[in-house]
């Protein structure tokens, strides 16, 4: 049975319809960007799901901190992203114990099932695949997380089974992921939004 997306899941995704920048103002009012720029960026990213150029420029405009400095911090820390990510996230652990236990094969299995490379997002914006350095579950290695669900002692075979199970629950097929057929579960509405936000990144966002 398809599980319902919660509001928070939707928020971590791509949904920045018209890039309403009022949240930036609210966060900058609350936290002083001069001493706490990282905390400001963490709060802003929690709201928008990522840190597109208009958002960075707005923080700079409101606080007087040069956009170049903000951009320098955004690109320094792994937590921040200037690109939108999928509504669902698959994290494969690549800590030492997981690596020794075959984590590269696990990532390959997911790459095949989702049809995207490590770090990539499916064209329908439903899934992003990422590697993480260590989740601290070394004794269950290799491990992965799909949203809040955790999976341990993986083999390439069981990984595929779990991944397909999750896709099945969401009612998504390989065609849907590729952005081909009409996708259920909100993917159809989300995709144009993402496209719109990307477009705004390049057109409006780059204005001097």
């Amino acid at each position: 049975m398809p599980r319902r997306e919660t509001e928070s899941q939707a928020h971590t995704g791509t949904a920045v319809p018209a890039l309403d920048l009022t949240e930036v103002g609210r966060v900058v009012d609350e936290i002083d960007p001069h001493g706490n720029l990282i905390a400001v960026l963490q709060h802003v990213q929690a709201h928008y799901g990522y840190l597109p150029e208009p958002v960075i420029n707005e923080i700079a405009r409101l606080s007087g901190v040069p956009a170049s400095r903000i951009y320098g911090i955004v690109t320094f820390y792994a937590q921040f992203s200037t690109e939108p990510s999928g509504r669902h996230k698959v994290f494969v652990c690549h800590g030492t114990a997981c690596h020794v236990a075959g984590a590269p094969r696990i990532t390959e299995a997911i790459e095949q099932e989702l049809g995207v490379p490590d770090g990539g997002t499916t064209p329908d914006m439903s899934f992003t695949l990422d590697s993480v350095a260590c989740m601290g579950a070394c004794s269950q290695a290799p491990v992965m997380r799909i949203d809040a669900d955790t999976f341990g002692n993986l083999t390439p075979d069981s990984t595929r089974k779990y991944m397909l199970g999750v896709l099945d629950e969401l009612g998504l097929s390989a065609d849907d992921l590729a952005g081909g057929a009409q996708a259920p579960e909100g993917a159809a509405e989300a995709a144009p939004e993402a496209a719109a936000s990307r477009a705004s990144d390049t057109s409006e966002g780059r204005r001097p």
Binding site: A78, H99, G136, S139, N153, P156
Partner: protein, 630 residues
């Protein structure tokens, strides 16, 4: 040392009574157990206990990492401390019915000691636990991490109270100096000395920082302490703040540890409410304010000057020292930084006395050290032992030996800054000096065990990829040197190694070690240097023989089905994701190597061991054997 008091060995923990004198079932909610499904077991216990009408008598509680992670998900019936490992939902029903209602331990669900086959009911009697001496981890996995009263019931905050209300800062520093404790974050600088420097620094404002940016892949000791016993860290910091004269402090927590952040936040609020933290704590004149800073994902921020830059909201890039943080640290003020585990030890040292701590360990390395044991071990998890225990004691004693009866090859200590110690040096004592002599380091406590199927060249490449990825880019040797080293290692593991590669790696490594700005760069070559030192033959096999002796590097292996062993069951063909396996049922199957992606699925699913990985000359030998006319 003759008059040193007796130290409680193995630290038998007392029973924590549940509120209202209820019996309690403790379910481990450490990270590994959660991955194994412990939260489902928690829900199952609650449901079964309610169904049995026992809700008024038995409480189900979560605990932090209990330690023996490879046995997860696990639960402990407190009181008699009965230990139920590898739980499944159907087990929970039986435990509730037979043990909690019927009063009989469920024999067939108990832990089985590998080797002897003995069933052990009480977790204190399991060798993994019995061989440990838990000081930093004294309450982890024992108390409910979200209840301050349980920490206090086991003597918590008594040390901080004594220090703040009765002792002088000089007394505290002398006590910590006398204990001999050295920084548990990896470098091993004596903690008391560090405190003395900060104490002697005169300023209107000083800072105390706890480094919880545990970034070594394969290390989870600090995470387990922060989310399993957050008050121990806070209490250690209170004592430290009083000793050095810092009225403000920060705990810098790695971005990937949201549970630690929430538990620490709650613990700080609880301590403030009881007057143990904040203004005029314990009714004294001393005030200490503690805040959490969440990291944003950068390994280099574990380096103290980078960490301070990050707290200040900047890119976490290290700077050269001096000035040392004790003179000019956070926002230019004198600052002292210690690791999570170091702070967690401090209350115990104050309560039990420096001599009790100094009685453990070796001449130069006093006390105990927590390790996260992982890799190809039977029993992996969180373990704390006196410093000076040998690698053999960790691998075969605490760790229960190598999984699947395979051969112990090496242990990797200290993560990306550390090195691999080979099986031949298995009796090396684990202390700062002995490990440094092998080329490895004590590090923060990550210990990953490799067996004969682990390729040491690939392991070196893995760590270089990590450090190269995490290099902040400030200094050239680290930014470009590690990149060049990684390129060479990638070529070697891809079967494109060249004569002279080993020497090039060694030369680059020497330059990077000597000329990098911070510890990250200075230690980055260690995994490569130690593997060349002890496993040079593996490098040579890759470069000159086109072979990976461990059969791990996919570019150098080829899959083959042994016709003698294949029964033609067809499972491999069914499971192959790319349709590379073909064959008629009940006849030998074959693998189309042009299609095969070397995902290893066929070998893993084969019940007859018929799928082999060939490497080097074996591939050619097989091809020529297969060539004769049919």
């Amino acid at each position: 040392m003759s008059d040193a008091p007796t130290v409680p060995q193995g630290v038998r923990v007392g029973v924590v009574p549940a509120p209202g004198g209820k019996r309690r079932v403790q379910v481990c909610a450490g990270t590994a157990c959660v991955f194994a499904g412990s939260l489902k077991m928690f829900a199952a216990f609650e449901a079964e206990i309610a169904a049995a009408g026992l809700s008024d008598e038995v409480e189900v509680a979560i605990i932090g990492c209990h330690g023996l992670c490879s046995q997860g998900p696990l639960a402990v019936v407190s009181g008699e401390e009965t230990y139920y490992p590898k739980l499944k939902a159907k087990h929970v029903k039986r435990i509730v019915e037979e043990h909690l209602v019927g009063g009989t331990i469920v024999e067939d669900l108990l832990y089985v000691e590998p080797g002897s086959g003995e069933r052990i009911a009480c977790w204190h009697d399991i060798p993994f636990y019995a061989q440990q001496t838990r000081i930093a981890l004294r309450d982890v996995g024992v108390i409910h991490p979200e209840r301050i009263d349980e920490y206090v019931a086991r003597g918590g905050y008594a040390a901080a109270r004594t220090v703040v209300t009765e002792k002088t800062p000089e007394w505290v520093i002398d006590e910590v100096l006398a204990s001999g404790i050295r920084g548990r974050g990896g470098a091993g600088f004596p903690t008391g000395q560090k405190w003395k420097f900060a104490y002697n620094s005169v300023s209107d404002q000083k800072y105390l920082i706890c480094n919880g940016d545990e970034g070594d892949p394969g290390a989870f000791m600090d995470a387990s302490i922060m989310d399993g016993d957050p008050h121990a860290v806070i209490e250690g910091m209170i004592i430290g703040s009083y000793a050095i004269g810092a009225r403000d402090g920060y705990i810098y927590v790695r971005a990937e540890y949201p549970l630690a952040v929430s538990r620490l936040r709650l613990a700080i609020a609880q301590a403030e409410e009881l007057g143990y933290l904040g203004d005029r704590m314990f009714g004294s004149d001393w005030s200490f304010h503690l805040k959490i800073k969440e990291g944003a994902g950068a390994f280099v921020c574990g380096e103290e000057t980078a960490l301070m830059a990050s707290i200040e909201g900047r890119r976490g890039m290290p700077r050269s020292r001096p000035p040392f943080p004790a003179v000019s640290g956070l926002w230019g003020k004198p600052t002292n930084i210690n690791n999570v585990e170091t702070f967690a030890n401090i209350p115990w040292i104050i309560t039990h006395g420096a001599a009790a701590y100094a009685a453990l360990g070796t001449e130069k390395s006093r006390g105990t050290k927590a390790f996260s044991l992982a890799g190809k071990l039977v029993n992996g998890g969180l373990a704390e032992v006196p410093i000076g225990s040998t690698i053999r004691e960790m691998v075969y004693g605490v760790g229960g030996g190598i999984k699947d009866g395979r051969d112990f090859k090496a242990v990797q200590l200290g993560g990306p800054s550390g090195g691999c110690v080979p099986a031949a040096l298995i009796d090396t004592p684990i202390d700062y000096e002995s490990l440094a002599a092998t080329g490895a380091i004590m590090g923060s406590g990550g210990m990953v065990v490799a067996d004969d199927q682990t390729c040491m060249v690939d392991l070196a490449r893995y760590f270089l990829q990590f450090t190269q990825n995490e290099s902040c880019g400030k200094c050239v040797p680290c930014r470009i040197g590690t990149k060049r080293m990684l390129e060479i290692l990638e070529r070697i593991t891809a079967g494109e190694g060249e004569d002279g590669d080993i020497e090039r790696l060694q030369k680059l490594a020497g330059t990077i070690k000597r000329t990098s700005l911070c510890g990250l760069g200075q230690t980055a070559p260690n995994p490569v240097l130690t593997t060349i030192r002890y496993f040079r033959d593996e490098y040579e096999a890759h470069i000159y023989g086109g072979a990976c002796p461990a059969r791990a590097c996919s570019a150098l292996i080829s899959y083959h089905i042994d016709p003698e062993a294949c029964t033609g069951c067809g499972l491999c063909a069914k499971k192959c994701p790319v349709g590379a396996v073909s064959g008629v049922r009940k006849q030998t199957h074959t693998i189309d190597l042009d299609v095969c992606t070397k995902c290893d699925t066929c070998r893993q699913v084969c019940k007859f061991g018929a799928v082999e990985r060939l490497t080097g000359d074996e591939v050619g030998a097989l091809a020529s054997a297969a060539a004769p006319p049919a």
